[in-house]
Amino acid sequence: MKTRSALTILLLLILNCAVCSQQSKFRMGLLGGASVDKLLYSFDDESGFLDASFSGKFRPAFSIGIFAEYDHTKSLGLKLQANYTTKGGILEKTVKYDSRLRYIQFSLLPQYNIHISEIEYDDIFYLNAGGYTAFMVHGVELISYYNDETERIITSNIKGTDYGLMFGLGIIARRFILDASFSHGLTNILADPVHSDLLNIKNMSFFISIGIGGGL
């Protein structure tokens, strides 16, 4: 009896997958837009005297990218996105520090699609969440005191790879895309083995993008 039940369930699953594959679909597109980024700082020491968490100010930047999405079912898909983006932030002490870290970022985002049109299959509202891996291309810090400004290349002082989480939502209507997302780094981006226990710096970004794309 148990074997028969198991076989029935297995058969149902296979049938379900066959139906799924009929609904599977690829979607691709281009996205570009603005981001606001800041850095999150935390200090930690054994005595507790240095412990502090603070964040810098947001600084505007831009982002451009492409994505490909595979719909496993009508509602569930998997999106792979590649972006060229600038992260960093502003910190003002006696001197103003404007950090610009340029990354190529790859995100893998399971996506939930809600179809908003019965006529156009590709018109959807979507929610996604997943992870990203970003590879740093270039890092620069602009240090200014009043109008005196100094540029410092910091590529070698920052870790080459950043990992983090990403959450987004958006709408695709008649191939026009409006997308908003949030990313939070999980890696301490400071490449200083001596002080990595004392100081922890993470990336955080909000993106708003527009684009064009749709089903293939």
Partner: protein
């Protein structure tokens, strides 16, 4: 000729006045230490016990000075040094009785202070065994 003189005078004023009236013109300030600001230093003995906690100032010219109070004995000293205009400053300073003093020759307050992405941090060692054989250890610091 008169018109030419007037034009030259006005042009001269147009060049001169912004430089005088605008205090943010470049060139009005010399170099500034990227490490400048108020720092928290925590000094520890070799066994990890706190020797002193102190707020230390680094001036726009990179000069270091701060008053420290030994947690155990309540004695107060100053630590002084020169971080200069570097982003990563390996400095060697001393303990002294006041800011601006040369300090005790046999004392040592040295280490590295760094600035990265606006954050200031550092670590090093200290020794003031002339006052007390036990006054030595390490320190960590962060800019507030």
């Amino acid at each position: 000729m008169k018109t030419m003189k007037s034009i030259l005078a006005i042009a001269g004023l147009m060049l001169y006045l912004p430089l005088v009236l605008n205090p943010e013109c470049p060139g009005n300030y010399g170099p500034v230490s990227p490490l400048s600001g108020s720092w928290n230093f925590t000094f520890s003995y070799g066994n990890g016990k706190v020797f002193a906690n102190s707020v230390v100032q680094i001036g726009l010219n990179g000069s270091i000075c701060g008053k420290i109070k030994v947690s155990d004995t309540g004695e107060t000293f100053y630590v002084t040094g020169e971080a200069g205009y570097e982003y990563d400053s390996d400095f060697s300073g001393r303990f002294s009785d006041a800011c601006g003093n040369l300090g005790y020759v046999t004392s040592e307050f040295k280490g590295t202070l760094s600035e990265m992405l606006g954050a200031g941090y550092g670590s090093g060692s200290f020794s003031f065994t002339q006052k007390n054989p036990g006054y030595k250890g390490t320190w960590q610091a962060k800019r507030n």
